[in-house]
C-alpha cells in the first residue's frame, strides 16, 4: 500500500521540450536513421500502451543495404576508413589509435590529448580496409560460425589479430546461453541481442514511469555497447561495484527481465525487498554489489573488495585471481571518493579496474564545467596508475580494453583506469528534462554517429548475420519479453511490511522490535491495510 501510493504520488515529469509527441513526427521525418534505432523511439515518445492498435515501437524501416551507409552519413560526418581524430561532445578532439596500449606508470604518458582506442568505425567496419565482397560471401552467414568469422577477421585485419583472437565476444561459448534459443553458444549474437534487450527494457520502463506505473527510471541509451562490451570481458567471479547506469552488466550476468521488473515495481520478489528506488539493483549470486545513490562511494569500496581478492589469492596460490571493477561517470570522478580510491588502489597495489563512462554530462553539467584537464584518464599517471582511453561506442574496442586491463591488473597486482568515451542519449533520469540544457541537434548528431547498437548491427550485416527481418524479430521478441515481465511484476503484491524493520541489523534489536509492534498496533487500531 505504502509503496503503491508513493508511486501514484510521484509527479510525472513534464515531458515538455524536444521529445514531446508533437515533435516526434517531425523528428522522424528529419532523421533517416532506421526508425527502430532513432531518437524517436528512445523511450521519449512512443507512450507504450498494451493495445496492439498503437504502432509498434519496434518497426524497422526497410532500407536497402547499399543505402545503409548513407543513412548513417546523412549528417556530414567524415567516413574515412581510418579517420585520425574524433570528437566527443564537450571534449577536445581526440586522436584515434588502432593500437591497444595500456599506458603503464613506467611508460611516457601520451603527449597532449590521450588517444582513443577504437576497432570498429561508425559503419560497423573494423578499421582498415573494408572487407572485400569475396569475404562477405564466404559462407559465413549460414552457419553463424564464430570461429570461422574470427579467423576471417583476423586474417583480414592483421593489426587487430591479437585482439580478435583473444576477444571472448568472438569465441563460441563453452556453456549454453539459456536466453539464446537459436544460437545458444554464439557470444557475439548474444551481445547484440542483450544490447537490444537493454534498449527495449529502458524504453518500456521509461514509458511506464511516464505513465505513473513506477516512480523513477534511468535509461542507458547510447551506453549499451560499453556495458555489454565490458561485462563480457570479465570473469563472473569479478566483483562489480556499479554506479546506477550499468544494468547491462547485470543483464550480461543473466539477471532476468523478471528480476529487473520486480525491482523497479518493488514487488515481493524484489531481491532488495522494496527498500530502494527503481534501478538500484544488486545480486549477491552474480557478484554485483547493490547500487546506492551517493556518487563515488562505490570506488573506495571496490578498492577494499579488490584487496580482499588479492589476499585470498595469495593465501591459496592455485586460485584464479578475480578483480573488482568500479563503474562511475565523469561527474563522480570529481568526488572525494574518486581521489581516495585511486590513491589507495595504486598505493596498496590492488588488482582492480576503474571504468569511467565519460558520457558528456553529469545530470545537466557538461564536462567543460566538470574538469579542465584531458578527461579523466589523464589523471591516471598522477596516481601511478595504468590507463587506457577507449571508444565507448565500439563494443569490440571496449571489450578488448577491459580484457587487456584485467590481464594487466592480475599480472601486476595493480589498478587500471579505463575511460570509455560515449554520449548519454537519454535524459539523466525520469526526473530530468535534458532539453533544458542541451540542443536537440546535439543529441541527434551524437546519436546518429555514436549509437553502439547501430554500429554492431551494421557489423553483423556485412556477413548477412543480420538483416531487417532478423532484427525486427529480435526486437519484437525482446519487446514482448519485457512487456510480459513488466505485466507480471505489476500484478505481484508488495513485499511484506515486516521487511521494513528487518536487515537494519543482523539481529533485530529491542528498540526495533518495540517500534515494529507500535506500528502494527497502529495499523490494527485504525484498520489500515498494508
Amino acid at each position: 500500500m505504502i509503496v503503491r501510493s508513493l508511486k501514484r504520488l510521484t509527479p510525472r515529469t513534464a515531458s515538455s521540450g524536444i521529445f514531446s509527441i508533437e515533435n516526434a513526427s517531425q523528428e522522424r521525418s528529419m532523421s533517416t536513421v532506421p526508425l527502430h534505432l532513432s531518437r524517436a523511439n528512445n523511450g521519449m515518445v512512443n507512450v507504450l500502451v498494451k493495445s496492439t492498435k498503437v504502432p509498434r515501437p519496434a518497426t524497422i524501416v526497410p532500407v536497402k543495404k547499399s543505402k545503409k551507409i548513407e543513412t548513417l552519413t546523412s549528417r556530414p560526418v567524415q567516413r574515412e576508413a581510418m579517420p585520425s581524430h574524433i570528437s566527443y561532445v564537450g571534449n577536445e578532439k581526440m586522436p584515434i589509435t588502432s593500437n591497444l596500449k595500456i599506458v603503464t606508470p613506467k611508460d611516457d604518458t601520451p603527449r597532449g590529448i590521450w588517444p582513443v582506442f577504437r576497432m570498429m568505425d561508425e559503419n560497423g567496419q573494423l578499421r582498415g580496409e573494408a572487407l572485400p565482397p569475396s569475404i562477405h560471401s564466404n559462407d559465413l552467414s549460414s552457419e553463424r560460425d564464430l570461429d570461422n568469422l574470427r579467423n576471417v577477421l583476423a586474417s583480414h585485419h592483421p593489426h587487430f589479430a591479437s585482439e580478435i583472437h583473444s576477444s571472448s565476444l568472438l569465441h563460441t561459448s563453452a556453456h549454453e546461453y539459456p536466453d539464446m534459443p537459436l544460437h545458444p553458444h554464439n557470444t557475439l549474437l548474444r551481445a547484440h541481442r542483450q544490447m537490444i534487450r537493454l534498449r527495449k527494457m529502458d524504453t518500456i520502463l521509461h514509458n511506464a514511469q511516464r505513465q505513473g506505473r513506477i516512480s523513477f527510471y534511468m535509461t542507458h541509451h547510447g551506453e549499451e555497447g560499453l556495458l555489454i562490451g565490458s561485462a563480457s570481458a570479465l570473469s563472473p567471479k569479478d566483483f562489480v561495484f556499479a554506479q546506477y547506469r550499468e544494468a547491462g552488466v547485470l543483464m550480461w550476468r543473466s539477471f532476468t527481465l523478471d528480476q529487473f521488473c520486480n525491482q523497479c515495481f518493488s514487488t515481493d520478489l524484489d531481491l532488495g525487498k522494496g527498500k530502494q528506488m527503481p534501478v538500484h539493483y544488486g545480486s549477491r549470486a552474480l557478484n554485483y554489489q547493490t547500487v546506492s545513490s551517493p556518487l563515488g562511494t562505490q570506488l573506495t569500496q571496490a578498492v577494499g573488495a579488490g584487496y580482499k581478492l588479492k589476499l585470498d589469492c595469495q593465501k591459496s596460490p592455485g586460485k584464479e585471481q578475480a578483480v573488482s571493477i568500479a563503474y562511475f561517470g565523469d561527474g563522480a570522478a570529481s568526488s572525494v571518493d574518486f581521489h581516495s580510491a585511486c590513491n589507495f588502489a595504486a598505493t596498496l597495489k590492488v588488482p582492480m579496474i576503474f571504468f569511467c563512462r565519460n558520457n558528456g554530462y553529469a545530470i545537466s553539467t557538461p564536462v567543460k564545467d566538470q574538469y579542465a584537464g584531458d578527461g579523466i584518464i589523464s589523471r591516471a599517471p598522477g596516481y601511478g596508475m595504468a590507463g587506457i582511453r577507449v571508444d565507448g561506442n565500439d563494443i569490440f574496442a571496449v571489450h578488448a580494453a577491459v580484457q587487456a586491463a584485467r590481464a594487466y591488473a592480475v599480472e601486476n597486482d595493480a589498478p587500471v583506469m579505463i575511460e570509455a568515451m560515449t554520449y548519454r542519449q537519454g535524459h539523466h533520469s525520469t526526473s530530468d528534462d535534458s532539453s533544458r540544457y542541451r540542443d536537440a541537434e546535439e543529441v541527434q548528431n551524437a546519436t546518429d554517429v555514436s549509437d553502439p547498437i547501430v554500429r554492431l548491427d551494421l557489423f553483423l550485416r556485412q556477413f548477412d548475420w543480420m538483416d531487417d527481418s532478423i532484427a525486427m524479430s529480435i526486437e519484437d521478441e525482446e519487446r514482448v519479453a519485457v512487456l510480459r515481465a513488466m505485466e507480471a511484476a505489476e500484478s505481484r503484491p508488495d513485499p511484506d511490511i515486516r521487511h521494513m524493520f528487518e536487515d537494519v541489523y543482523h539481529e533485530k534489536p529491542p528498540h526495533l522490535i518495540k517500534q515494529e509492534e507500535v506500528l502494527m498496533q497502529h495499523l490494527k487500531k485504525h484498520n489500515i491495510k498494508y
Binding site: T297, T300, G304, L311, V336, D337, F344, H506
Partner: protein, 397 residues
C-alpha cells in the same frame, strides 16, 4: 491530568501507585539485550591477567582478533609503525604487511575500503586516528556502512567492519583532538556505536565489536581514568604524540590474557545504589565515580551505570534502575544539545514518568567548541555532577 497543577504531596502518592504498576507493565522490560547470545564474561575463570593500560588492552584485542580470524586486516594512518597511540605495535611484524598496513591519509578512503573489504567477506579493522577526523568518513559510515545490509535486502552486508577512533578530552587537545562524536553516529540506524571506559572493558568490547555481524564504530577514550588537569599547562605542539601516549598509558587495570567478549547492547551497573541513578560512558565514568564518592560522604547512595554501547542502547537496565531510585542524572562530555543524553532522558520520561521524583538532570559539555585553555571549565566535572546529585535529592524531598 496536568501534573504541574497537582499538589506535590498528592502527586507523589499517585506516583507511588503508578510506579508499582509501571514496574510490571513497561514494554522496555520485555525484549532481551541486543546480543543476548553473549553472556557477561566470568572474569574469575578467565585465568591469568596482566596489568595493561587502554592502548595495550586494545593491542591485545587486535592481536587476538588477527590470530583467530585469518581474514582480519588492520589498517589506517600510521598503523605500520605501531600507530600514534601505539595500538598496533608489533602487529605488522607478527602478521605481515599484507594484513597490517598504512593507508594514505584519507578517512573516507579508510572507511570505504573497510566497507568493500567486509562486503567481500573479510574482517576489516580500520583506524581513524582521532574521532575528530571521522567526519570526512561520515558519508561512507552513514550512507554506505550503516545501510549496506538493509538496502540490499540482506544479500550483502559489511558486518565485518570495525572502525576504531580515539575520542574525548585529553587535557590539551583543543577543538580538534577532544571531541566525542557518539551522538552524530548514534543517529544512524544500522550502526553499532561502542565506547569502553577502561582497559579490561576495552578488550572484551573490542573483540565483540570485531566479531559482531554489524558494522561498529568503536570510540576509545584518550584519557581513561587519569587526572587530566596536570596536563593543561604542557606545551601541545612539541609533545603531542608523546603526551597522548602517556595519557593512554597512565591508567592500568588487570586485563585477562584470555580471549573474551563483552556483550554489545548491554549496559553495566558499576555500583549499586538506592537514591539516584547516574548514567555515563567512556572516560566520563571516572569523573562520575569521584562524584559518587563525594555524594556517599553526604549519605547519598548512587547507582552508577556504564552504558558501554551507545547504539543500540540498553534502555532496560537504566529503566530498572530509575524505577528503583526515582532519580536520574545523565552525564557526557559532548555538547548538551542533541547529545546522546537527550535520547536517554526522553525515553526515560516516557517510560517511567510517574516513577520520577525529580526532574532528570543532564550534566554535559556546553554548546561551544572545545576551547583549549577553557577545557577544565568546559568539562562536566565531579563538582558539577555533585551539584546535580544534591539538586535531585533536594527536589525529591
Amino acid at each position: 491530568m496536568l501534573l504541574s497543577k497537582v499538589p506535590l504531596h498528592s502527586r507523589r502518592i499517585a506516583a507511588n501507585q503508578i510506579r508499582s504498576n509501571a514496574r510490571t507493565s513497561s514494554t522496555l522490560l520485555e525484549p532481551t539485550a541486543y546480543s543476548s547470545s553473549n553472556p557477561e564474561p566470568p572474569y574469575a575463570t578467565l585465568g591469568s591477567t596482566t596489568k595493561l593500560n587502554l592502548f595495550s588492552a586494545v593491542n591485545s584485542a587486535l592481536k587476538t582478533a588477527l590470530e583467530t580470524d585469518p581474514t582480519a586486516i588492520l589498517f589506517g594512518e600510521d598503523i605500520a609503525f605501531g600507530g600514534v597511540f601505539r595500538c598496533s605495535q608489533g602487529l605488522r611484524d607478527e602478521f605481515g604487511e599484507g594484513r597490517v598496513f598504512n593507508t594514505p591519509l584519507s578517512e573516507n578512503g579508510i572507511a570505504g575500503m573497510a566497507v568493500g573489504y567486509a562486503s567481500a567477506g573479510g574482517t576489516a579493522i580500520g583506524e581513524i586516528q582521532f574521532g575528530d577526523y571521522i567526519f570526512p568518513a561520515m558519508d561512507q559510515i552513514v550512507n554506505e556502512m550503516a545501510k549496506f545490509r538493509f538496502r540490499s535486502g540482506n544479500q550483502w552486508n559489511c558486518g565485518g567492519v570495525t572502525l576504531r577512533a580515539p575520542c574525548g578530552a585529553v587535557g590539551h587537545g583543543g577543538l580538534y583532538h577532544s571531541q566525542s562524536p557518539e551522538a552524530y553516529l548514534a543517529h544512524t540506524p544500522g550502526l553499532v556505536v561502542v565506547m569502553p571506559r577502561g582497559p579490561r572493558c576495552a578488550k572484551g568490547l573490542l573483540l565483540s565489536s570485531i566479531r559482531s555481524k554489524d558494522p561498529v564504530v568503536f570510540l576509545e577514550p584518550k584519557v581513561t581514568f587519569t587526572n587530566v588537569s596536570i596536563w593543561l599547562r604542557l606545551s601541545y605542539s612539541h609533545l603531542r604524540c608523546f603526551i597522548f601516549q602517556i595519557l593512554y598509558r597512565s591508567a592500568v587495570e588487570e586485563v585477562p590474557d584470555a580471549d573474551y567478549e563483552i556483550p554489545l547492547g548491554k549496559a553495566e551497573v558499576m555500583r549499586e545504589g538506592t537514591d539516584v541513578t547516574i548514567v555515563g560512558w567512556g572516560a566520563q565514568l571516572r569523573t562520575l565515580e569521584t562524584a559518587c564518592d563525594l555524594a556517599a560522604k553526604e549519605g547519598i547512595s548512587c547507582e552508577l551505570i556504564d552504558l558501554r554501547t551507545i547504539l543500540p542502547w540498553d534502555s532496560k537496565t537504566i529503566l530498572e534502575s530509575v524505577m528503583k531510585t526515582g532519580k536520574l542524572i545523565v552525564s557526557h562530555e559532548a555538547p548538551i544539545t542533541c547529545g546522546f543524553g537527550a535520547e536517554i532522558v526522553a525515553t526515560m520520561q516516557q517510560e517511567c514518568f510517574f516513577c520520577l521524583e525529580a526532574p532528570i538532570q543532564r550534566v554535559c559539555g556546553y554548546d561551544t567548541p572545545f576551547g583549549l585553555v577553557y577545557e577544565k571549565y568546559y568539562l562536566p566535572d565531579e563538582k558539577k555532577n555533585l551539584d546535580a546529585i544534591r539538586k535531585v535529592m533536594e527536589l525529591s524531598r
